[in-house]
Subunit: 309 residues, 2 copies
DNA sequence: GTCATGATGCGTACGCTGTACGCAGGCGCC
DNA sequence: GGCGCCTGCGTACAGCGTACGCATCATGAC
């Protein structure tokens, strides 16, 4: 399971940038040159260069070749009208994932939906992973954080968590995607993190602790969201409607649960029978409250900046 | 995206059992009869019957045909030495998932590893989903709950959470699997649930609330575990070692994070630089403590004869 | 004008997946 | 012996992501 060929080239160029072997303004090897050096097809070398250009590390200068971009990345500057297709692709992909579930999302499917030739998508997105990544970015951008935060760290954390939750509810597949593409720095995830960390500054938690709180909060929202997804997916995948689905599952579930081996479970089930509906919104709100209560208690217990333990 | 043909047959038989159209002792249609009725291949019909037999709903009586099993399912009774292969398969699958990651797990791969013909696995496991399900069951069984619970609801919840956590650490892929196979009643998951619910009886929480607490606790552990997985997977998939991986990610991460747009993030990062290592164990313990503190506060606040510890 | 060089856009094809189906062979009853 | 049925496995299919090859075009040199 090696890295994809084009990715290997991309990595190597980046490495050369780090070590200083390549500096802003330098010319990269031409497509053909790369192809020869790496023993790959022309198209693959071109793919690598295109990827680098998309990331803004590098710029394609028409009659000169490919040149290392100088200065701070002006990401978003060059993407004017030319990337309309790119956004169309990502939005189409989101639409598919939204109403057919993540497993049903395929490059070929998106291409068909847009009436584009399959391979032409790779001109704009490099790989499916990158597609997923961009889907996540666009989805999160739908719920921007307000410019003026409310007063108090708790209110700020609540706001961030609820915003994130709302996004997850709209796009159940996100919970899984966030983990697949994980180690990548999502622009909007960072904005959330930044928001949370600012809120925590007020509490004077040490950096390490603040980081943990941030991660835990994110993990909590995501954890609940993952449940949303598996339900949405199961329904979409089997083509059942909710009722059928519930019927089938409750049946087998109850058969096992009430076998006599799980008496406490049975008792609880009996206690809530009438409207047994695990409302995820309520679950989320309860979890959030409990968690923040716990955090608040911790802060009260430990006033001022102190070392953990 | 319909249900698999054999699954459709299985479901229909179960439906007939529910409605009473089939009763214990009744004979099911023969393989050929089923194949004719459903317009599927003989092998598919046989597959359906085998699945039913494996689930214990039905029994294959040699010279008579297939008969609806009577009385409570004696699951585990019939599986003597005959299912040795089945267990071998599941264990092999677990081994693959453990050290190559879930994406690398394929039926063909497992078959190759065992030196068995590919299709022969379907004789014992029905489908990949079922395989995943059984993998989860076996994995969870590795950390059985003790016979004698410790004193106090909090200690009991902690124990359950830590046990679950330990399993997830050993088998990072589990976090994802639990969600894929979700709506199925896992034997061991129920045992955990039962344990948690018993612990909560002491707190006299109403049934609905107790259920939520249980789900939230499970969600929490799982949420943290999912992070474990995505890291393990990324490493396994790219074939990098941890160091390379960290290097690459930290690099791009820092490049974006320190772009000036996320000042609070930067400040926190600066504050913990020396040993920036997000230890998941510590993260888990902190989250657990905070969460249980919050829960305890809720119980105290709530009127009712509940005494902490 | 002709040509060389390089980039672009896309069709083809590969290696992989899960698994439905077909078929050979064996077993037991008539 | 013949028939009916089940078992076990090989073959084949539909679908995936995407590397590679080819046709086409833009451009500068001569």
């Amino acid at each position: 399971m090696a890295i994809a060929p084009y990715q290997r080239i991309v990595d190597d160029v980046k490495r050369q940038l780090r070590t200083g072997a390549l500096r802003p303004g330098d010319r990269l090897p031409s497509t053909r040159e790369l192809a020869r050096q790496w023993k790959v097809a022309l198209a693959t070398a071109a793919h690598a260069l295109r990827t680098l250009a998309q990331e803004g590390v590098v710029k394609a200068v028409p009659r000169v070749g490919t040149v290392v971009a100088g200065g701070p990345s002006r990401s978003g500057a060059t993407r004017g009208s030319a990337d309309l297709t790119r956004e169309r692709i990502v939005r189409a992909a989101i639409a598919v994932a939204d109403d057919e579930g993540l497993p049903a999302l395929s490059i070929r499917g998106v291409a068909a939906k847009l009436g584009l030739p399959v391979m032409s998508l790779y001109r704009h997105v490099a790989s499916k992973d990158v597609l997923l990544f961009m889907m996540a970015e666009i989805a999160f951008a739908e719920e921007p954080l307000p410019a003026k935060p409310p007063a108090g760290w708790r209110a700020q954390l609540e706001l961030a968590a609820r915003l994130e939750w709302r996004v997850f509810k709209r796009h159940p597949w996100l919970a899984r995607v966030v983990n697949i593409t994980r180690p990548q720095p999502q622009e909007n995830a960072l904005a959330f993190a930044n928001w949370v960390l600012r809120a925590l500054e007020e509490t004077r938690l040490p950096a390490q602790e603040a980081m943990r709180v941030h991660v835990l909060l994110h993990t909590f929202v995501q954890g609940v969201a993952v449940n949303l997804e598996s339900e949405a997916d199961a329904v979409a995948q089997t083509g059942m409607n909710d009722e059928e689905f519930m019927q089938r599952n409750l049946d087998t579930f109850l058969r096992v649960a009430t076998s006599g081996r799980f008496p406490h479970m049975e008792r609880v089930l009996a206690g809530l029978r009438p409207g047994f509906d695990l409302d995820f919104d309520e679950l989320f709100e309860m979890g959030l409250r409990v968690w923040l209560d716990g955090l608040e208690a911790r802060l009260v217990r430990r006033p001022g900046p102190s070392k953990p333990r």
